[in-house]
């Protein structure tokens, strides 16, 4: 199993590096492995090899969407590259935009299959829009809540030639580069796909405090963007757009955790092995920490190797091992000297996208060169992905002490985030930036400090960490569309029984939740590198934990889309109180 995974990982890394060699701009940085193809939403970028008269007609106001005109860049007379390069680079742009979401972006030159239940097809032709009005694209719908499973859109790439390909234009002469064409056309494809996933132009107008300018984002109306805005910048979803999209299609990253550990031994550790439990039949590490606080990169999963019952639930047993060395700040590559702090982190995906699955740590061991565990283990607490305490409506993440010692949990900080925080920044002093380095802020009123005083977590005990409450206000909860509220006269005598407002609701408690906590063994035997002897005293580790949000029962658009509410899926473990 492990060998197979490593082969797959190596193959994926090769493909990824080859793709990057042909691409100046990075594409998705997360390797989802087998989960990529299992993502529940397809976004087809359809570059027709020839005119396709079977493509659906959904145009209006003179715009016609069928036939889907062929993608033939010789019609883009100021573009000088190859068709394949432009297709690939446009795809890179859209893949990058949708990287963290449960959307598998796929390019095709033939009509996409009707195999997948939830699919969104954007046909990209090199023709100019039929009204010559300067239209770059058209979506079939603004599908609030993404209630319509199959949607279509059209992009007229020839409009870019018409408006910006001429002398002095944003896509003319020295400006006519592969990247600039790809950013332009890819940005429009991402925008039209976004409409079909439920984003409106109004979503593009809402900016958070400190957020970058509207023209760097995707969903505002086209009239906000100049040619240079389109060609000169790789646009991305704003915080608000991101939160809407995460709610409508889901996040592919489920849980991400990093740890600051200390090697409590005098001996040097050359590997780290973490034993974990998961309900999943296979486990995918899609992301890992590769900053300079870690002696290793590329953790490898092995398992499942049997099962274990934990708190009344049967889990599969896995190990996660770090052994591939890299240069780092506190020692030689791949080596952790005695008494030295080090950092590791991993992000997990699964093919069950409805709610984050718990990854429960049962042991952390440093190994010597012969793969034997060193006698003293770094300190840790286990934790789940959270569940609701039906008694009081609290949404708790549960910390478990499965170690042989009593522990202290302290300085817990919970932050509600509008987008995924970079795994590499889940460190002490880390910056609040997304994986591409874009700064953002937690939602206002979205930072809470818990357990500021040391709280004991005795052997075998459970600590409820209340990260949210069911009745708290959602960060986005807006009725945007009084659809179906009487098609005859929407002002008078509405048939309220048929009134199903289009409603956007952000994930609960937020797009992601970021928890940091200190775990301390107050009476740990550990190596003191200054005194060069073992001492008894506090030994601290720090957890950095990010969990994807989830839907609650009753959220719009969940019917028929799997488990409607992750919070109901998992029973709270027992006991749920401190002891």
């Amino acid at each position: 199993m492990r060998t197979r995974f490593l082969l797959l990982l190596a193959a994926a890394m090769f493909v990824l590096s080859a793709a990057r060699a042909a691409s100046a701009a990075p594409t998705c940085y997360i390797n989802y492995g087998g989960a990529e193809n299992a993502k529940p939403n397809r976004l087809y970028l359809y570059f027709p090899a020839s005119n396709d008269a079977t493509y659906p007609e959904f145009g209006f106001s003179g715009l016609t969407t069928s036939p889907a005109h062929k993608f033939d860049p010789t019609e883009l007379t100021s573009y000088t590259g190859s068709a394949a390069d432009l297709r690939n680079r446009i795809t890179d742009v859209v893949v990058d935009d949708y990287c963290e979401f449960d959307v598998h972006v796929e390019q095709t030159t033939s009509a996409p299959p009707a195999t997948f239940a939830r699919r969104n097809t954007v046909a990209i032709g090199t023709d100019t829009d039929p009204t010559a009005s300067g239209t770059f694209g058209l979506a079939q719908n603004v599908d609030t809540g993404d209630l319509i499973p199959v949607d279509f859109a059209r992009v007229w790439a020839g409009t870019y030639q018409t408006l910006y390909g001429g002398s002095g234009g944003a896509l003319n002469g020295a400006n006519s580069t592969l990247d600039r064409w790809a950013r332009s056309i890819g940005g429009t494809a991402a925008h039209e796909g976004g409409h079909n996933f439920g984003e409106s132009h109004g979503d593009g107008l809402i900016l958070g405090p400190g957020e970058d300018v509207l023209t760097h984002h995707i969903m505002a109306s086209g009239t906000h963007f100049s040619g240079e805005d389109r060609a000169g910048y790789r646009r991305h979803f704003s915080d608000h757009e991101y939160s809407i999209l995460a709610s409508n299609v889901g996040l592919a990253i489920q849980t991400v955790w990093n740890w600051d550990f200390v090697n409590p031994n005098a001996q040097t550790g050359v590997k780290l092995r973490i034993s974990i439990l998961s309900p999943l039949p296979s486990l995918i590490v899609s992301w890992f920490y590769n900053g300079n606080r870690s002696p290793w990169i590329n953790p490898a999963v092995a398992g499942p190797s049997g099962t274990q019952v934990f708190k009344g639930t049967t889990y599969n047993k896995y190990t996660l091992t770090w052994s591939a060395g890299q240069p780092w700040i506190n020692g030689s590559p791949g080596q952790v000297p005695g008494g030295t702090q080090f950092h590791v982190g991993a992000g997990f995906s699964s093919v069950d996208f409805n709610a984050p699955d718990p990854i429960i740590i049962t042991d952390v061991a440093l190994l010597d060169g012969s793969d034997n565990p060193l006698p003293l283990h770094p300190r840790f607490a286990s934790y789940d992905a959270g569940s609701v305490d039906q008694a009081d409506g609290a949404f708790n993440v549960h910390f478990f002490n499965v170690a042989a010692q009593n522990l202290i949990v302290q300085n817990v900080v919970v932050q509600d985030l509008p987008r995924v925080l970079s795994l590499n920044q889940m460190v002490v002093g880390g910056r609040m930036v997304d994986p591409r380095g874009r700064p953002f802020r937690p939602f206002s009123e979205g930072v809470r400090r818990l357990f500021t005083q040391p709280t004991y977590l005795k052997r075998g005990a459970v600590l409820n960490v209340p990260v949210a409450r069911l009745n708290q206000r959602r960060y986005i909860d807006e009725v945007v569309d009084e659809r179906a509220c009487n098609s005859q006269d929407r002002l008078k005598g509405a048939d309220t029984a048929k009134c199903t407002p289009g409603r956007n609701v952000a994930l609960f408690p937020s797009t992601t939740t970021y928890i940091t906590a200190q775990v301390v063994d107050p009476q740990a035997k550990h190596w003191d590198p200054q005194r060069k002897r073992y001492v008894i005293g506090p030994l601290a580790s720090t957890l950095f934990y990010q969990i994807a949000g989830r839907h609650l029962p009753g959220d719009p658009g969940r019917k028929g889309r799997g488990n409607p509410g992750g919070v109901q899926k998992k029973a709270a473990p027992t006991p749920t109180t401190k002891r």
């Binding site: 145009g59 009725v479 569309d481």
Partner: protein
Amino acid sequence: MLSLVSQMASAHVPVAFSHAVAVRGCTQEDAPALEIYLTQRPFDGQGMPPKPYLHIEVAGTDWQPLVGRPLKLIPLSREGVDPQTTIVRAELDRGERSAQIFLAGTLRIKSAQPDRPVEGHYDFGTHAGQRWAGTFRAAWQETRGSGCGG
């Protein structure tokens, strides 16, 4: 620019949108459209309008055939709407966090030609009982950006 006067008859907060501007713009699906902004403070049609505001979109590039006809607003979603229906929408941005809503009601255009003031009457509302009605004379403005389709 301007404008007369939208008078709102609301059971809640009275709001008068006394400024209006018209621009060549886009529908929510990105088809070309006439866009009209009704605002409380002056707005030149560039960038973000001052909140709160009413935003009207009328699909097409030639709006003359629509003059004098009652144009019923459609919802944000076109799902289930007769494909022959003229796409006309109005939304209210209240200026609160994450607050925009597409309205029900009727628009009647008195005159609409590029480079000339756009005039008309509106009667919009929500099922919650809020209602905005009045006339407008919107100054025509050129937009900074390019065509439809982000």
